[in-house]
């Protein structure tokens, strides 16, 4: 994977994805490894982020590398109207690797074409967020000790959630059964279901969260975002449909784990946090290991 940008999850084969997870496991048991001596990683965040940016920067710091970049493009020449192309060419002269989040879809692919150094997509609008997918896969593997033949439920906004789309596509390589819980207006788009059908896997659609609770190994919760609705009444109607609380975990499988890409609002009650089945903070921590694995393999150090 040396020198290979990661823009879409499908840029990496199943084997390459598994290799990243394997390296991540090594970082989990030994997170501080001084591999990035004299290396500079640029983190260009054109829109806000907590977990993604900080876990990338934490990953670089724990590897002994240096970070340059910005978390808000208003303090840069972008504000003066500089093009993305010029920004990327300039920054690629200053760094060994670029990590970028940009609200414009396709911006990451374009950046990888003009950059002299590899680019990792940390989110391009509603399009792709492949490092989230890798850390989700890692977390599933960590909790279930396999990625094969699992029953996975996705709950909430399945229409617009890019993390859901990419993870569903990635899990299609592992013979999963999909349980899709959403309001009818936020169902998984057919463009994503095509991937499930191509692999001849089973998927079931529900509107009631309680129907899937006893069935699944992974419960992947998502936030329903207010900004997706043109009608505020519609949002009010669906926003409290899927609130997971501790008592609902009683009839779930022993090995079941609750995941969430975060930030959460009210879809997971805070009383779930203490349950051994809650795994979303660990999931966010795994982001550091997976990003360490990705950075070191792209730079040819692992």
């Amino acid at each position: 994977m040396k020198g290979k940008s990661l823009i879409s999850i499908n840029d990496y084969t199943k084997e390459e994805q598994l290799r990243i997870l394997e390296i991540a496991k090594d970082f989990e048991s030994n997170p501080s490894q001084n591999l990035l001596n004299n290396k500079v990683v640029a983190t260009l965040f054109f829109e806000p982020s907590t977990r993604t940016r900080l876990s990338f920067e934490s990953a670089v710091c724990r590897l002994g590398g240096k970070v340059i970049g910005f978390s808000d493009s208003s303090s840069t020449s972008v504000k003066k109207g500089e093009s993305l192309k010029d920004t990327i060419i300039t920054v690629s002269n200053y760094s060994d690797l670029i990590v970028m989040r940009n609200p414009v879809e396709g911006s990451a692919r374009f950046a990888s074409e003009v950059s002299k150094v590899p680019v990792i997509n940390a989110g391009d609008g509603a399009n792709q967020h492949p490092t989230q997918t890798l850390l989700d896969l890692y977390t599933i593997l960590q909790t279930q000790h396999t990625l094969d033949d699992l029953h996975v439920a996705f709950v909430g906004d399945l229409k617009y959630g890019r993390t859901v789309h990419s993870l569903v596509i990635a899990l299609c390589n592992f013979n999963c059964t999909f349980h899709l819980v959403s309001p009818t207006e936020l169902k998984l788009p057919s463009a994503v279901k095509i991937h499930i059908k191509e692999k001849k896997l089973a998927y079931y659609q529900y509107t009631d969260l309680n129907d899937v609770l006893p069935l699944v190994d992974i419960l992947y919760m998502t936030r329903i975002q207010r900004e997706r609705f043109s009608d505020p009444l519609e949002y009010e109607r669906v926003k409290n449909l899927y609130n997971l609380n501790k008592s609902m975990l009683e009839h779930t499988k022993e090995n079941m784990k609750v995941l969430h890409p975060m930030p959460r609002v009210n879809e997971i009650d805070i009383d779930v946090d203490d349950s051994p089945k809650a795994h979303y903070f660990q999931q966010a921590l795994n982001g550091v290991y997976v990003r360490q694995a990705l950075i070191t393999s792209i730079l040819g150090l692992k």
Binding site: S8, S83, L84, K85, P103, V104, E105, G106, S107, R109, F110, D124, G125, A126, N127, Q128, A191
Partner: protein, 150 residues
């Protein structure tokens, strides 16, 4: 016959026949014939047994490469390509939509980088009955109903 007099015969070159009348100017643009220096004849709203009306373009002394001519399949899928040498028809072929299209079609997604910065559009054809083009950049699918040309 009166019909034949409308457009004079070609000694050497290419005839693009059965173009939908409304697409003739788009074909001229896609093939960059606006900057071609030899003689070009074209007709619009001509009678056609198959289609009611049709358009036709005759380009003197020019033979197109397959990948070049196939670009017009997006606007004129029914077009026939006729190669002529010494007034004789050498070959008659239909068009095929290319698997990869660069720089002709506009991505319908307003939030795609190609609509925000100066980036040449690139699409891959999605195998389907209808025209479906997946943007190389934003990965959204531009379909038949929102197909627009640059």
């Amino acid at each position: 016959m009166v019909k034949e007099l409308k457009v004079s015969a070609l000694e050497n070159g290419t005839v693009i026949d059965h173009i939908p009348s409304k697409s003739v100017f788009k074909v001229i643009k896609i093939l960059n014939l606006e900057n071609y220096e030899n003689q070009i004849l074209f007709g619009i709203n001509l009678e056609s047994k198959k289609f009611g009306t049709k358009g036709i373009i005759k380009v003197h002394n020019k033979y197109f490469k397959k990948e070049e001519i196939n670009k017009i399949a997006l606007v004129a899928p029914s077009a026939t390509l006729i190669t002529i040498k010494d007034f004789q028809i050498i070959e008659k072929t239909s068009l095929q939509i290319p698997n990869y299209i660069e720089g002709i079609v506009k991505c319908f997604n307003p939030n795609c980088i190609t609509n925000i910065e100066k980036v040449v559009t690139k699409f891959n054809l999605v195998p389907d009955q209808e025209i479906k083009l997946r943007c190389h950049y934003c990965e959204k699918i531009t379909g038949k109903n929102n197909l627009a040309f640059i």
